[in-house]
C-alpha cells in the first residue's frame, strides 16, 4: 500500500508540451508511473514521446480514463486548469505550479471543497512519490526507496533533504507528499497524516513544517486525538527573522505565534518529538524504529 499515488494511478499532465512539463512527465513515466495523456489547448492530436495530447481534460478523461492530474502550466492559467480537471471528474489533482495568485487558489480550493469529488495537492508543491510504484511531480526519485516511513512536508527541497537523511539511516518511504507552502494548500498536514494513519505500510510518520501559519499546531491537536502511530517532526526557521508588519488583523486572527519555537512547543506538548536538524530527525527515527535494514 501507499497513499495517493501508486499502481492505480493513470496520470494526465496539463502543460505536457511545455519544456519543464515534458521533462518531468517523461521522468515520471521512466520511473514507472502510468502516464496516459496530456492536455495543451490547441495541441490536441499531437503526442509527446507517444503520450497522446488532448485539447481539454474532458476529452483526455473520456479517451484515456485518467484519474490523476498533474498541473504544470504557468501561474496565470493554473487555477483554471485545476478547475477544468475537477470538472472533468479527475479524482486527484497535483499542482506543481508556483506563484499562483492567492485569490485564484482560494476560488479553486472552494469549488473543489464544495463539490467534494476531488482532492487537490499543492499548489506550489513538489508532488507525490510512492517509491517503487509511482512518481507524480518533481521529487528526485533516485534518492528514495520503498519502506515504512510516511513523509509529509510543506517545503520541496527540504523534503529531499530529510528524505535523504532518512535514506542514509536505512529507511525507505511508503509515500512522500509535498503539500506546498502556498496560502491555500488543497491538502493539509492533517489530511495526509490521517491517510498515513490508515495506511498499513506506514509505521512512522515524519512531518516537515516551517514558520508561518498554524498548520503544524492544528496537526499537533489532530495527532493527539486521532493518530496511534509514532510521529516525528522537523520545523525550519528557528533563526528566520520576523518580518515587519503593518496591519494587525493577521495577528488577531491566528491563535498562534507562527514561530518555529511555538510550533515545536505545540508539537512536543502533544508528544510529537521534534528534531532540530534534518540529521537529528533521522537519529530520532532510528531510536523509535530501531536501526532499519
Amino acid at each position: 500500500m501507499s497513499i495517493l499515488v501508486g499502481t492505480e494511478t493513470r496520470l494526465c499532465v496539463s502543460g505536457i508540451t511545455g519544456r519543464e512539463g515534458t521533462f518531468h512527465t517523461l521522468r515520471n513515466r521512466e520511473y514507472g508511473t502510468s502516464v496516459v495523456s496530456g492536455v495543451t489547448p490547441g495541441k490536441g492530436g499531437q503526442s509527446v514521446e507517444g503520450i497522446p495530447v488532448f485539447d481539454t481534460f474532458h476529452s483526455a478523461v473520456a479517451e484515456t480514463a485518467a484519474n490523476t492530474a498533474m498541473i504544470f502550466v504557468p501561474p496565470v492559467f493554473a487555477a483554471d486548469s485545476i478547475l477544468e480537471a475537477e470538472d472533468a471528474g479527475i479524482e486527484l489533482i497535483i499542482a506543481i505550479t508556483e506563484g499562483i495568485p492567492a485569490h485564484d487558489e482560494l476560488r479553486a480550493y472552494s469549488v473543489i471543497k464544495k463539490n467534494g469529488r476531488a482532492r487537490l495537492i499543492g499548489p506550489n508543491c513538489p508532488g507525490v512519490l510512492s517509491p517503487g510504484k509511482a512518481n507524480v511531480g518533481i521529487i528526485p526519485a533516485a534518492f528514495f526507496k520503498q519502506g515504512n516511513v510516511g513523509l509529509v512536508s510543506r517545503s520541496g527541497t527540504l523534503t529531499y533533504q530529510i528524505g535523504n537523511e532518512l535514506a542514509q539511516s536505512g529507511f525507505g518511504n511508503s509515500t512522500i507528499v509535498g503539500i506546498g507552502g502556498d496560502p491555500v494548500p488543497g491538502t493539509d498536514f492533517i489530511d495526509v497524516i490521517g491517510l498515513f494513519q490508515d495506511d498499513p505500510e506506514t509505521e512512522l510518520i515524519v512531518m516537515c513544517g516551517e514558520i508561518g501559519g498554524d498548520a503544524e499546531e492544528r496537526a499537533a491537536d489532530f495527532i493527539a486525538a486521532h493518530v496511534t502511530k509514532p510521529v516525528l517532526a522537523y520545523i525550519a526557521g528557528f533563526t528566520a527573522p520576523p518580518g515587519k508588519t503593518m496591519g494587525h488583523a493577521g495577528a488577531i486572527v491566528s491563535g498562534s505565534k507562527g514561530t518555529a519555537a511555538a510550533k515545536e512547543a505545540a508539537l512536543e506538548a502533544k508528544g510529537v518529538r521534534v528534531g532540530r536538524t534534518p540529521t537529528q530527525v533521522a537519529e530520532l527515527a532510528v531510536s523509535l524504529l530501531g536501526a532499519a535494514a
Binding site: V184, K244, V253
Partner: protein
Amino acid sequence: MAADRTRIRIHYSLDRPMDLLEYQGKQLFARHGIPISPGKPARTVEAAVAAADEIGYPCVVKAQVQIGGRGKAGGIKLADDPGEVREYAAAILGMDIGGLTVNEVWIELASDIASEYYASIVFDRSAKAPLVMLSTKGGMDIEAVADEDPDAIARLHVDPLLGFQSFHGRRLAFEAGVDADVVRPVGAMLAQLYEAFIAEEATLVEVNPLIVTPERVVRVLDAKVTLDDNSLFRHPENAELRDSSAEDEQEQMARERGLTYVKLDGDIGILGNGAGLVMSTLDVVALAGGRPANFLDAGGGSKAEAITSAVEVILSDPKVKAVLFNIFGGITRCDEVAKGLIEAFEVVKPTVPFVVRLDGTNDVEGRRLLAEAKLPNVHAESTMDGAAKKVVELAAAP
C-alpha cells in the same frame, strides 16, 4: 485563548506581501466608491503647505510609512494654519518610525468624529476564506482589544463562492453593536471594502478607525492594504506603487534579479534552493555557532545566470567572510548550479572562501564540473551538517 494572541506576524521568502502606504490604500478605496476625506500627498515642506492651502484648515499631517504606531511616534499632527503645517511637516519628513524613514506626508482635511469603529478583511489562511471583522472599539490598539475583550470584535467568514451579502453586513453591524442609525451604511461600507478586497486581490484591508461624523456620515480615516505579490501582473497600476525606498540596497538588487533575499546581521553568506531548505540551512549554521549574513533562495530550477547574480548579491554585503552553498536539486540541476558558480568566479573573483554542498538531480556531474574547475578557496562538502561546520570554521578564521 486570548493569551495565545500575539503581535508577530511572520513574513518569509515565499510570502512577499506588498504593503501600501495609507494614502495609496485610500486612493485604492476611492476607486471602489468608498468615501475618504479630501487629501494630498507631499514630499517636501513646501508641497505640504501648498496641499493644505488647497484642502483647507484644520488639516492633519500624517507620516506615510508602512508600519503601525505612527501616532505614538509623533507622526500624526493636527494643524490649524499654514505655520503649523510647515512646522509639523518639517518635523515629520525624514523622521524615523520603527526603522523606516518618512519620505512622504499625507495632508488631509480634519474630520469631526462622533464614533470610531474598526473594520478589516483578512485572507484567513487557516479557515481558507476571507474573514471580515468589525468592532465599535476603533481608534485604539485592536490587538489589545482582542486580548482583553475578544467579544468586542464581531467576526464572520465569507464563503468566497457566495461573496459578501447584505445580511453579512447587517449581522456584523448588529453583533458589533454599532449605533442603530448607521447599521445600514456601515454594512454597505463593509460590502464596498469586500469588493475592493476581491477586485484588487488584497490579502488584508484594515480600517482603524472607520468613523461616524456628527452628521452621521460613515467614512474611512485610515487604510492599511496589503496586496498579493503574485497577482500584481494583473494590476499594473498597483504594481507601480511598490516603494523600493523601504528596501535595503541588496534586497532591491536581488529582487530586480528575481531572487528572494533577506539581509541578516551575521557574516556567513547563505545560498540555497527552496525556502524551506534555506531556512533549515540558517538553523543548522546557527546551531554550529555561526551567524548567517542573509537568506537567499535561488528558487526552483535555478539556472547558471541566477547563480551568478546570487553570488554578486551575497558578496555585495561587505560583512560576508565566508559563503555556504547548500543545494538539493529537484527541479534545480546541480550541473547548472556548478556552471553558475564557475561563471561567477570569472566575473566577481571572490576573495572569501566558499563551501559547496551539491546533492540531487545531476549532482555527480555538478561535482565533477566543480572539481575540474579547481576554483580557488572552494571547499566541497558532502553533508549539510559538515558543510555548516566547515563554513563556520572558515568564517571564524582570522
